[in-house]
């Protein structure tokens, strides 16, 4: 059983790089946004160079692959979280930096960033298409494809994509069409829900209970005929389940059906649509792929493919659009029914003209009749697919499974070849590049931080090259428990990340009720917030639909779930066995490792706030429409919002209606304190360090307990719309996603009618993440202090590239931000033709260079900027500036000092002039025909360099002997057989 977190078998030419695990990386110098690559590997047009986005290191790595395996030529620092690289020409690459919201334009011969293009939020992919060729850049957050003229870097147009999070891009073979996969496209499932009423009102009528509903008003309806399967636990006979909504899904005939073939079409789109708050004709087009005409920029959509369209490619022979991703069966109710089978891994083949499609299950060996199959079958599964790449003749499609750690191959019809095995790669394989001339496929293993070289003829991995990876070990250790589908599921295709995608959400609601379970009684450890109505003292197992919650910044904010019914992440262990059908759950240590990892996942910079992280005062509110309750007619766009005014509304203390009575800043969560009559005091942590964030019971929820939810990702939920016939999403706000818009939420909850006041409040809610709020006094009983938020200021990642000294004002702005907020400022550029780095020291007002002895004033540094010696300034999370700017391996020795001393700035064990106390710091570099090995020698201590071709060989062969003084020694092994593994060791001479 493959259970190891760090793979022990490094198929390749060495054994020594475990030394990298000594790196002094932690969350103090590494902020984890938990972004994942989109197109992180690119092959140069002449097939001699491989470019790879080293996402955690914020660099673009360049390799020579003429030898059939990658040989490093160096790296270039780009922006934060580079996720995509594409060659525009043989010498120019464009890199999409997801957090920086920028495109780094890299000159390959000189290995430098020559320009930085600021784009809309969260650029994910870039392709070049059309005639003349234009750059098409998918920008996820606001649903845009930006079109840029690559010759002058001016924006040609912004194409609004009618879908949530356009991500992966591809181009038709003739270059006339760009395809954009809509990552969170939904799956034509939606909710029937009571919606929202004022907080102290009783819930509104639940359409499920209407006598004209398919079940005559029975709530919950049976899920199999007239029965519940599995049957109710006898103990529930005296505990009727709460009234809840229903999830329905549109079938091929356009009928909205539940999991028991109940037909709700009339309630969703028909004459009775008003009974579910919808307009007649309401629909969810379920756009999956945007098809963009590069000449006219008109857009068509392919629909009905899957829920998460993770990656796409175009078959160059047929022009067929191919999409890989996952589809969920969230319309099926109850956790015992969904156990192990809740997600399918799919490949969609889409005709580029008619946009008709065929969707195939990429795991045909699974029949989903059982939640658990033998390990041999699990290992055949592919999970969390993140790339598809076609051979030039269109007969082979290569698909990586980021969660399953493997590679599968399909034929032109989408059927898997070699159904008895997969090609195992490193952890988290994502993007690929195909060198057909040499028969090699290169895969970036995101979690492991390595590149696998696959011999596509023999379908074996011939080389795995680790990249320098500053990811803290706490992340690497716990991450597999979120993603690894083979490790954590009974069928090998699912994991926590199937729903908590990239640590976030799938945008769906699930009814994970359990008829076989029992009522859980709430004990006194729960912290019920003000006001204090009577508590309905239980958590019923038939909880009804609940939307998937993000995992960002949850640790330390216990309890969990919408209802607060899990007091600790340890209580989620049951999900591994009872929902993912993992044969055994995690042990206590593994759960702790998962917890430690999840604790690192923070929120991205808020794209609604200006660079100084203040609240915007004139914010355009995309997709927010009046409901007709104020002066504006229904459907009119809301006016621009003033988030500062919105904050004032939010913090009004008008019991019981003030938002701030429950939601605290800066997270929106409830307080972790109790008011003792005089002031707020911290509730003591539980023995396992769990917190006690507030839970509230409100009449509108039938006085059932709910945790006060955080408010930092509200824009991510926007997209459902009951007032129009083309809703992007099927789920919106509130625990079951039953409130379509934030406008309706705030107006129905707090009875606002003023359009401007509504706009202001929404502007504030969209601007919520980013912290920076005024401190809350401890003695105001209506205004509780809240827990801190793991987020970063709005300017995080912001960068500019300058080529002259005239840009001092822009630089001064960045210096001001680095001085006055939680940001560091780094610079990369050239001095005297040499690549250099700098880190701004606010206390001294100067830039520390990557040579300890060198500092520069801002003006002095800027004076080095010139065409060919451009400088790129980047604001990075506080604490990470020194690492990113001047000390890549965080070993305390600055990068240029290390280079000056022939040390390796990407190896924390390689340091200059450090008299080692023992032999160590071994590293190696591959070149065609040779392996160069370097290590530190200890004065007076002789050593032997030895090797084995197989670790099972009985004896080591001595390659060289050395007795040397202090410092780095190197030896080249010229006799290693090509494409074979060899293991090296250094021992003290006898």
């Amino acid at each position: 059983m493959k259970r190891s977190v760090i793979s022990l078998a490094i198929a390749g030419a060495f054994l020594c790089n475990a030394a990298l695990s000594y790196a002094a990386f932690s969350t103090t110098n590494f902020f984890n946004f938990e972004d994942n690559p989109v197109h992180p590997v690119a092959l140069s047009p002449d097939a001699t160079r491989l470019a790879v986005c080293n996402l955690p290191d914020d660099r673009l790595e360049i390799f020579d692959i003429t030898g059939g395996f990658p040989v490093s030529l160096g790296s270039v620092t780009v922006g934060l979280d580079p996720v995509t690289v594409r060659f525009r020409t043989a010498t120019e690459l464009w890199v999409a930096n997801y957090v920086s919201s920028s495109i780094s334009i890299v000159d390959l011969p000189s290995m430098r960033v020559k320009a930085t293009l600021i784009v809309s939020n969260e650029p994910a992919d870039v392709v070049f298409a059309g005639s003349p060729a234009l750059a098409f850049i998918s920008c996820e957050r606001f649903g845009l494809v930006q079109v840029v003229n690559p010759t002058n870097l001016l924006t040609v147009t912004n194409i609004a994509i009618d879908g949530k999070r356009p991500r992966a891009l591809a181009v038709s073979p003739d270059g006339s069409t760009v395809y954009a996969a809509i990552f969170q496209s939904g799956n034509a499932s939606t909710i029937i829900s009571p919606g929202m009423s004022p907080i102290l009102s009783f819930p509104r009528a639940d359409p499920v209970t209407f006598p004209n509903s398919p079940y005559g008003g029975i709530d919950p309806p049976p899920n199999v005929g007239t029965n519940f399967v599995p049957a109710f636990d006898p103990s529930l006979s005296n505990s009727p389940p709460p009234l809840t909504g229903m999830i329905v899904k549109k079938n091929a005939a356009g009928q909205w059906m539940d999991d028991n073939q109940g037909n709700w079409t009339d309630f969703i789109t028909g004459d009775a649509a008003a009974l579910t708050e919808r307009v007649p004709g309401w629909d969810m087009p379920d756009h999956d792929v945007a098809v963009i005409n590069t000449a006219t920029f008109s857009v068509r959509y392919a629909t009905g493919l899957m829920n998460l369209c993770m990656a796409l490619g175009v078959n160059p022979a047929t022009g067929q659009i191919t999409v890989v991703g996952t589809d969920s069966i969230n319309q099926i109710r109850f956790q015992p029914v969904l156990d192990g089978i809740f997600v399918r891994i799919e490949l969609a083949l889409v005709d580029p003209a008619a946009l008709t499609n065929q969707v195939l299950d990429l795991n045909p060996h699974l029949n989903y009749q059982t939640p658990l199959v033998p390990e041999s079958l699990r290992d055949l599964s592919v999970g969390d697919p993140r790339a598809i790449l076609w051979s030039s003749d269109g007969t082979r499609g290569y698909i990586t499974g980021m969660g399953s750690g493997n590679l599968i191959i399909v034929n032109a019809q989408g059927n898997r070849l070699n159904t008895n095995s997969t090609i195992d790669l490193g952890e988290g394989p994502t993007g690929m590049a195909l060198d057909e001339a040499r028969g090699r496929l290169y895969v970036y293993n995101r979690f492991e931080g390595s590149i696998s070289t696959v011999d596509i003829t023999n379908q074996v991995v011939t080389n795995t090259l680790p990249l320098f990876d500053p990811t803290p070990s706490v992340i690497k250790t716990g991450r597999p428990f979120l993603y690894d589908t083979h490790l954590t599921s009974g069928l090998g295709q699912s994991s926590c990340a199937s729903c908590h995608v990239d640590g976030r959400t799938d945008g769906l609601a699930w009814d994970l009720g359990d008829p076989t379970s029992t009522v859980e009684i709430i004990d006194s450890s729960y912290n019920f917030a003000q006001p204090l109505p009577a508590v309905t003292n239980n958590y019923h197992p038939m909880k009804g639909p609940m939307t998937t919650l993000t995992l960002q910044d949850i640790i330390g904010h216990e309890p969990f779930h919408w209802r607060g019914d899990r007091q600790d992440i340890q209580q989620f262990n049951i999900a591994f066995t009872n929902l993912q059908a993992m044969p055994d759950g995690l042990d206590t240590n593994e759960m702790q490792e998962l917890k430690n990892f999840v604790a690192t996942i923070g929120f991205a910079p808020n794209g609604f706030r200006p660079l100084n992280n203040s609240l915007p005062t004139n914010l355009v509110l995309p997709g927010q429409f009046a409901l007709g309750r104020g002066a504006l007619p229904a459907g009119a766009p809301l006016p621009n919002g003033n988030a500062s005014n919105g904050l004032a509304t939010f913090t009004l203390e008008q019991p019981p209606n003030g938002c701030v009575l429950c939601h605290t800043v800066p997270s929106g969560l409830g307080t972790d304190m109790r008011f003792n009559g005089i002031q707020w005091v911290q509730i003591p942590l539980a023995s396992n360090s769990d917190h006690h964030l507030a839970v509230v019971v409100l009449p509108r929820e039938n006085n059932l307990p709910f945790k006060i939810p955080q408010l930092r990702n509200l824009f991510d939920k926007a997209g459902m719309d009951f007032t129009r016939t083309n809703s992007q999403l099927g789920f919106g706000f509130s625990h079951d996603g039953g409130v379509d818009s934030l406008v309706r939420f705030v107006q129905d909850s707090f009875q606002l009618t003023d359009d401007q006041q509504t706009a202001d409040l929404i502007a504030f809610l969209f601007s919520f993440s980013g912290s920076g709020f005024p401190a809350v006094p401890l003695n105001d009983p209506n205004h509780a202090p809240g827990p801190q938020s793991l987020d970063t200021p709005a300017a995080t990642g912001f960068q500019i590239t300058v080529s002259n000294s005239a840009s001092l004002s822009a630089l001064n702005t960045m210096i001001s931000l680095a001085t006055n907020s939680q940001l560091d400022l780094v610079a990369k550029g050239r001095e005297n033709g040499q690549s250099r780095g700098w880190f701004f020291k606010p206390s001294g007002g100067f830039f520390q260079s990557d040579r300890l002895a060198e500092t520069e004033t801002p003006a002095q540094l800027l004076a080095f900027a010139a065409p060919g010696s451009e400088q790129t300034y980047t604001l990075v999370p506080a604490g990470s500036g020194e690492r990113i700017g001047i000390d890549r391996d965080a070993d305390g020795f600055f990068d240029q000092d290390e280079l000056d001393a022939s040390a390796n700035p990407a190896n924390p064990l390689s340091v200059p002039a450090q008299p080692p106390t023992q032999i160590g710091g071994i590293s190696l570099a591959l070149s065609p025909g040779a392996v160069a090995l370097k290590w530190y020698a200890v004065q007076g201590l002789g050593c032997l360099l030895q090797y084995k071709n197989n670790l099972t060989d009985s004896a080591w062969t001595t390659l060289s002997t050395n007795t040397a003084g202090i410092g780095s020694l190197s030896v080249s092994d010229l006799n290693r057989p090509t494409n074979t593994a060899r293991f090296y060791r250094i021992i003290a001479a006898p």
């Binding site: 009102s201 009783f202 509104r204 009974l275 009618t753």
Partner: protein, 514 residues
């Protein structure tokens, strides 16, 4: 849905008649040629001038027997005031009618005005009426399922037999509306004002009436089920009305402001119960025990009383109401807070009687003698007085103001303290330095009046109109100006210490709440 409203109009051969949902609607029919009839009518809005235009479609129908009606062509529509004409080839005697059809499912009518709209039978399924005003509208038979009436004002609207299934009406104002036979299942009426609404035979199964004001609501035949949410007091009233309560124990219960007419309370025990203002007309309280009960303003008309235990003064009130009190000797009696509306007190001796707050509206007071009676706050609208009535000058002035109007009267320095002048019309009156403290002026009209230096301290002025009035140096300390309008008034030197402002329109048009 798609309910069509029969509205109109019979036309016997060539004669048109008016009826139904369209106000002042006329149809004409004329012989065009042998065997040909021209029927024509003007297009007009279903709402009065000033409201939102609602132009129906029209369907002409013909009948030869007034039983079977046949559509003539498809529904037609036109522009406002356009005359629509339909020719019918027919040479037999026939009747014609024009049916108006209002089909506005899902209409966006937030905040519009549809007062007095003739919207009977209209189809407003799923329509949005948030904040709209439909006072006096005719919505009988209309389909209002899933409509949104939150914050809407619907005073005295007619919802007879309308469909209000799953309606959203929390906070809506339905005062005085009629809702007999409505289908209000699953409706949300939380905090709605259903004051004095007729709910007879309405179906409120699974509806939410939590917090709704149901004072004086008529519950007879109203259907509730186990899922209906309603506060305990109206629930109790509903049970009494619909299930009867003979022999029940209501000691100390709050049964005030309840429409209990016709209720069976025989043998009920209501010791110290609060029945203030309740309607017990035609109720059976024989053998009941109402000892200590608050019976202020209780309506006793037709109430069956026999062997009933209640305070002697209330038995006296019952007698006056039901048996009359012509020439009766009521000297020194306590009739305060009694509901004696339309009582016959012709020639009654009420010397030294306590009539504090007694409602004598519509009573016959000719020849009555009120010498020495406590006349504070006595309600005199519609009462009959003549020269033989002996009454104090202050009460006589109040009577004149109420029954002959006080418009333009000179009331300089008059004493109008502790009087009941609700709904009085005092437009342009001169109340300079008048003593009006501690009086009831609710909904009174002081438009253009001069209240300079008048004393209105502690007075009730809720809903009063003080538009363009002179309020200089007047005293409104501790007065209640809830929903009063002071628009355009001059207030220099006026005193408003501890005055209640609640949705009060201030001189500059702003709304004040305090």
């Amino acid at each position: 849905m798609n309910i069509r409203s029969p509205i109109l109009i019979l036309s016997a051969l060539l004669l048109a008649a008016n009826a139904g949902a369209q106000r002042n609607f006329s149809v004409s029919a004329a012989a065009n040629a042998p065997g040909s009839v021209i029927v024509s009518w003007p297009v007009q809005s279903a709402t009065p001038t000033g409201d939102l235009l609602v132009l129906p479609q029209f369907q002409l129908q013909r009948s030869f027997d007034l039983k079977t009606w046949t559509n003539l062509g498809a529904p037609i529509s036109g522009t406002l005031h356009q005359t629509l004409t339909v020719a019918d080839t027919n040479d037999a005697p026939a009747f014609y009618k024009v049916q108006s059809i209002i089909s506005q499912e899902y209409a966006q009518l937030d905040n519009v005005t549809l007062d007095s709209g003739q919207l009977s039978g209209a189809d407003f399924f799923g329509a949005e009426f948030f904040g709209a005003t439909l006072n006096g509208a005719s919505l009988n038979g209309a389909d209002l399922s899933a409509a949104d009436f939150r914050n809407a004002t619907l005073f005295s609207a007619d919802f007879t037999d309308a469909t209000l299934f799953d309606v959203e009406a929390s906070g809506a104002l339905f005062d005085g509306s009629t809702m007999p036979g409505v289908d209000a299942r699953f409706g949300d009426f939380q905090e709605a004002i259903l004051f004095s609404v007729v709910l007879s035979n309405a179906d409120f199964s699974s509806a939410d009436l939590t917090g709704a004001d149901l004072d004086f609501a008529v519950f007879n035949g109203m259907k509730l089920d186990s899922n209906t949410l309603m506060d305990p007091k109206p629930t109790l009233i509903w049970q009494i009305v619909n299930n009867g309560a003979p022999g029940s124990n209501f000691n100390f219960q709050d049964l005030s402001s309840a429409a209990l007419f016709g209720a069976n309370l025989n043998r009920a025990t209501m010791i110290d119960a609060d029945l203030n203002s309740s309607e017990l007309n035609n109720a059976d309280i024989r053998n009941a025990n109402l000892t200590g009960a608050d019976l202020d303003y209780v309506v006793f008309q037709g109430t069956l009383v026999s062997n009933t235990l209640m305070a002697p003064e209330w038995l006296l009130v019952w007698k006056i109401v039901n048996q009359g009190a012509t020439n009766a000797n009521l000297q020194g009696t306590n009739l305060s807070s009694a509901f004696l509306e339309n009582a016959n007190l012709h020639g009654a001796l009420l010397n030294n009687a306590n009539l504090d707050g007694t409602d004598l509206s519509g009573s016959d007071l000719r020849g009555a003698n009120f010498t020495g009676a406590n006349m504070a706050f006595v309600e005199l609208p519609g009462t009959l007085l003549d020269a033989t009535t002996v009454i104090d000058p202050k009460s006589l002035l109040v009577w004149k103001i109420l029954n002959q109007t006080g418009n333009g009267l000179s009331l300089v320095a008059s004493n109008l303290s502790e009087v009941f002048l609700a709904n009085a019309s005092l437009r342009g009156a001169n109340l300079t330095s008048a003593l009006c403290n501690s009086s009831v002026f609710s909904d009174a009209d002081f438009t253009g009046a001069n209240l300079h230096s008048a004393n209105f301290a502690l007075s009730e002025l809720a809903g009063a109109t003080l538009v363009n009035a002179t309020l200089t140096s007047a005293n409104f300390n501790e007065a209640d100006l809830t929903e009063a309008s002071l628009l355009g008034s001059t207030t220099n030197g006026a005193s408003f210490i501890n005055t209640t402002f609640n949705d009060t329109i201030m001189p500059d048009g702003s709304i004040r709440n305090q």
